[in-house]
């Protein structure tokens, strides 16, 4: 039955996308976040759906709809440069076999984000992109959230739609990505045009947020706790009504703690025990190895170079004695060390600059739209995307997700939103200054 539903969605996307390019963009996001070929038992497992979506996006855009393209900007330039740089380092990779496998999906994630602002240009299209992200994730967090309520969840338990230990099947990654989607859910609840204003819709979004929080708790991932903590802090800091938001956060935290079981609390308490807790210690050790590696290899070692990691560290064991702890071939467990180790200082500089400029662009958009009632939605969307990026930056400090598509989606939304506000003001630029000064002079006369 699930294969039939998913085939139905695929057919709708292909038919609708044939006349409307942004629908293929939604389809591509759906493939990335929902992984229908892994969730389906048959039919879709035989079709190269990602290729169909990508070809559909590019083909229909070029043939049918090149209206209002985004202005070439510094973030797009840096994304292109980053895509070229990671390709260059792959040619020089220490482990070429592994490197080219990862390059395949990493390159697509970066380059597709360059193309997304060409597809999503209007307010409705932007909202459709956000809904594609949230609805695609909902397939996992709805089932994960309900199962957490029934069983309490657990570390490394595949309670979602996907199995395995990579991508969204991995607990820490899922927890972080779902935490990043909460600001979008709150934004959509307030400003959606696609969903009608109705209490059932609001209830639906609140249900999504509850499932999201349960999913984050149910993964028992410390990254999830950190992501939630940053989400609460940023949400409170950026809110207009700080007291009300502080109360909401406290109530949500109390509700979460009432649902959490002892195993969750035990696991969260190990966050600060990096000296004795081998999982946390292993991260620090591989980070030290990465730092030493790039001293001799400033251009990085290419994708997958963590497989060469060998490092020894003294730890305190359960008996309070010192012993040697050795790691070999441990993954980076940090997006920043991942980029540094694989693509060197320049790679890391480009990665950080792209994210920083996206945040600054969102701040500029927020400032521009602050006192404009017609663009309240744009101001709130800037806040939501900025929050998602900041949560991602915090959460990805502990998981190697630098080349998963999530952060690149948020950067693409930042570019699209900036371009939208630019287009709103552009036709008025010539006359706007004179109208402003007319208003100013009129006020002075009064």
């Amino acid at each position: 039955m699930r294969s039939v539903f998913l085939l139905g969605v695929f057919i709708v996307i292909v038919c609708a996308g044939a006349s409307t390019p942004f629908v293929f963009g939604m389809g591509y996001i759906w493939v990335d976040l929902f992984s229908p070929s892994k969730v389906s038992y048959s039919i879709l497992t035989e079709i190269p759906i990602a290729l169909v979506m990508a070809a559909g996006c590019i083909g229909t855009y070029l043939v049918m709809d090149r209206k209002s393209p985004p202005k070439f900007n510094i973030i797009t330039f840096l994304l292109i440069l980053f895509a070229l740089w990671i390709t260059f380092t792959t040619f020089r990779a220490a482990l070429p076999g592994h490197a080219w496998i990862k390059w395949d999906f990493a390159f697509k994630a970066v380059t597709f984000s360059i193309f997304l602002p060409y597809l999503f240009r209007t307010r409705v299209q932007l909202e459709a992109m956000l809904l594609a992200i949230v609805v695609s994730l909902s397939g996992t967090f709805m089932t994960f959230g309900v199962k957490t309520l029934m069983t309490g969840g657990g570390y490394s338990m595949n309670l979602g739609l996907l199995s395995g230990n990579s991508g969204l099947a991995e607990g820490s990654t899922l927890a972080m990505v779902v935490a990043c989607s909460i600001p979008f859910q709150i934004y959509l609840m307030r400003h959606s045009l696609i969903f009608p204003k109705h209490w059932i819709v609001k209830l639906g979004f609140l249900g999504f947020q509850a499932c999201s929080l349960l999913t984050i708790l149910g993964t028992h991932a410390r990254t999830g706790l950190i992501s939630l903590g940053v989400l609460a802090m940023v949400y409170w800091w950026l809110a207009a009504n700080k007291i009300r938001n502080a109360l909401i956060v406290l109530v949500a935290a109390a509700a979460a703690l009432s649902v959490a079981d002892d195993s969750w609390l035990d696991r969260m308490s190990t966050v600060t025990e990096y000296n004795t807790e081998t999982s946390a210690l292993g991260r620090i050790v591989v980070w030290k190895w990465t730092w030493d590696y790039v001293q001799d290899n400033p251009l990085g070692g290419g994708f997958g170079v963590y497989r060469l990691s060998r490092y020894t560290q003294t730890i305190i064991n359960e008996d309070g004695e010192e012993e040697l702890y050795e790691v070999a071939g441990k993954a980076f467990h940090s997006a920043y060390f991942e980029v540094l180790g694989e693509h060197g200082y320049l790679g890391l500089a480009l990665y950080l600059l792209i994210i920083l400029l996206a945040v600054l662009s969102l701040r500029k958009t927020k400032k521009k739209t602050r006192d404009v009632p017609e663009l309240t939605w744009a101001r709130d969307l800037s806040t939501a995307v900025m929050t998602a990026i900041l949560v991602h930056m915090a959460g990805s400090s502990f998981i190697g997700v630098a080349f998963q598509p999530f952060i690149y989606y948020y950067v693409a939304i930042a570019i699209s939103l900036d371009q939208y506000v630019r287009r709103v003001y552009e036709p008025q630029k010539a006359g706007r200054g004179s109208r402003k000064s007319q208003l100013k002079n009129s006020r002075k006369a009064v």
């Binding site: 699930r2 240009r121 209007t122 609805v135 695609s136 696609i194």
Partner: protein, 52 residues
């Protein structure tokens, strides 16, 4: 059963979003705020002129 229900709900929602997005996007101007802002500022200027 729960997984299948979740897939059904998210699939149905996605189809709804796609259809509504297409219909809505075609029925609206691309940047309606541009005209709305212009009209509002014009009205404000006229009000101030009238008061002056």
């Amino acid at each position: 059963m729960l997984d299948t229900l979740s897939i059904l709900i998210s699939s149905a929602l996605l189809i709804y979003v796609i259809v509504r997005a297409i219909l809505l996007d075609r029925s609206r101007p691309w940047y309606p705020e541009a005209d709305e802002i212009r009209e509002r500022e014009k009205a404000e200027a006229q009000t101030l002129d009238a008061e002056g």
